[in-house]
């Protein structure tokens, strides 16, 4: 009998993940000792952990390698997303500290769940194995289901969680079946080997593989809220606590795209001929449905949900285009989108008060003039989402559309552009309410909510910075994508 030797594991690639996991467990344990009703300390703990994770991730930028039998990988792509998720989750935590005061959510689990979800995201972005990706996705999702319903006394929160859960599990089933079929076709769940089969496999294998790919598409499409798999998003975004909605819009979507690109653009790239056309339609459908539906919304969270669907459509353009430029543009856009959307939801939170969520657009009348900072912030976020220069959202669209045009997708670009035009109407509609309508809703001063204020400033600064000086950030995205191709 062989000696029980500790398996030879390369720890380095796991470092950020381990830091986050450690933090999560720490927060989980600390929760036992924390005393309500104020759980800010837990939030701070989580924030420190996330910061630490970023700090450990940064020095790894020039490293590469795999670990745990090739299921997890250390590459720039993974690091890029790891940092993005940490930033996104960090900002969400920051937002939440002030947000939770306005709700009945009084449990430390909130932060734990966010961190758990972050673990899942990082797994999704750094894994090379379909099953691990699935695991990551489930870790992320299950935590998110719980988060959506964490305001237990709120009927809407319940309903959101329920819908999210039922549909999420339903879609997971398809994703899983897809993985099974891919496994059936290749005998593998490791992405690099699947790629080989996709490139050189027999016709039969490829057929099974492409059916599997279709089902994978459903699974990822659901998570990114692509039409026609988007229908959960408006309801869930509206019903979930606002900070959670922000988290879903920013983090979960990005994570889904991280896996999406790795699986499709990288491994299944050789099959692109099969799935590209389908994605083309999905992209067009998604952005159109998102934008057109958003036109008639009166609830700001629901509006932002549809906006989020529309943006998924733009992001899908990046997947359709693929290649270095398409993927890099997509990554850049994800960063931008995370900032914009977190900022926008931040403003939504800032306008809410205890018992008065102020989610109806009519409650926003005149707010921009009464609270100049919030007005300015929302203006910047809305215009950035609409793609008005020189804000980050515009640069994101610019990179995306340039990539698409260069790859010859002229019509796709034109449709996307027309869609942005439609979107201007409702984004600007928000500003109309804020600045041009008369109303009397009270707004709390920024000083009363320092964390929220800090989040908004950070998102604002990011949105401006990435708009005015996008080059270094885009280079980061490009270098990250480069590491995929290896």
């Amino acid at each position: 009998m062989a000696a029980l030797t500790f398996p030879d594991v390369a720890w380095l690639p796991l470092l950020p993940l381990l830091v986050i996991t450690g933090t999560t467990l720490l927060v989980l344990v600390a929760d036992l000792f924390a005393e309500g009703p104020d759980y800010d300390a837990l939030g701070w703990l989580g924030l420190i952990g996330l910061l630490l994770a970023v700090l450990t991730a940064v020095p790894l930028w020039n490293q590469s390698g795999t670990t745990l039998g090739g299921t997890l990988v250390l590459d720039r792509y993974g690091l890029f997303f790891t940092i993005l998720f940490c930033v996104g989750s960090g900002l969400t935590v920051l937002l939440s500290m002030n947000y939770l005061e306005t709700t009945d959510i009084r449990c430390g689990d909130y932060y734990t769940l966010i961190l758990f979800s972050t673990i899942g995201m990082v797994l999704m972005a750094t894994s090379l194995d379909l099953i691990v990706i699935f695991l990551g996705l489930e870790v992320m999702s299950v935590a998110a289901y719980a988060l959506a319903g964490i305001w237990r006394t709120q009927v809407r929160s319940n309903e959101a969680a329920l819908k999210y859960f039922i549909l999420g599990a339903f879609a997971s089933g398809f994703l899983l079946l897809g993985i099974a079929l891919v496994f059936g076709a290749t005998g593998e769940t490791l992405l690099p080997r699947i790629g080989e089969v996709a490139a050189k496999g027999s016709a039969e294998q490829r057929l099974l593989l492409s059916v599997g790919a279709a089902l994978l598409l459903v699974g990822f499409g659901f998570k990114v809220a692509a039409a026609p798999f988007h229908s959960w998003a408006p309801d869930v975004y509206e019903g979930a606590p606002t900070a959670v909605t922000a988290f879903m819009a920013a983090g979960i979507k990005a994570a889904a795209f991280a896996a999406f690109v790795r699986v499709f653009v990288d491994s299944l790239g050789p099959l692109a001929g099969d799935w590209r056309g389908a994605l083309w339609f999905l992209a067009v459908l998604t952005m159109t449905v998102g934008n057109v539906s958003a036109l008639v919304q009166r609830n700001i969270k629901r509006l932002l949900a549809y906006s989020s669907i529309a943006h998924a459509g733009y992001l899908l353009v990046g997947v359709v285009v693929g290649g270095e430029s398409g993927s890099a543009a997509l990554l850049f856009y994800l960063v931008v989108y995370t900032l914009m959307t977190l900022g926008a939801f931040g403003v939504v939170i800032a306008l809410g008060r205890r018992g008065q969520p102020h989610e109806d657009l009519d409650d926003w009348a005149g707010v921009g003039l009464r609270s100049p900072f919030l007005g300015l912030a929302m203006t910047v976020f809305m215009l950035s989402l609409a793609g008005v220069p020189p804000l980050a959202g515009f640069m994101g669209k610019f990179y995306l559309f340039s990539a698409a045009l260069e790859a010859g997708y002229v019509w796709l670009t034109v449709i996307a552009v027309v869609n942005s035009l439609v979107s201007v109407y409702y984004y600007v509609g928000v500003l109309v309410k804020m600045y041009m309508a008369e109303g009397g809703a009270e707004v709390e001063t920024a000083a009363a909510r320092p964390y929220l204020f800090a989040t908004l400033v950070a998102a604002l600064a990011g949105t401006l910075l990435l708009g005015l000086f996008p080059t270094p950030w885009f280079e980061l995205a490009r270098r990250s994508v480069e590491s995929l191709a290896s």
């Binding site: 969680a161 599990a169 089933g173």
Partner: protein, 102 residues
Amino acid sequence: MTTVPASWYAFLGVLLFTIGALGVLVRRNLIIMFMAIELMLNAVNLVFVAFARQQQTMDGQVMVFFVMTVAAAEAAVGLAIILAVFRNRETVNADEVNLLRW
């Protein structure tokens, strides 16, 4: 003794999956819908096992454990959510949970 071809199991799996999916669509009771989803996941398990047998690897069998674990976790959260809904709304009928729409 003739062996049943592995692909038959795979097809059976897919069939069960379909039944599960339809179950989600047609049953109104949230608990039953949830069970239908469980059926879908387990159907996939069957597919995994079938392919594993066909490919002569253990990998597929291992997957099943992962899936079962995940399903268990989902069940825990899912049932908690349904419970919460029932507590607030006193219904487990999917039709009646439509506060959020349009």
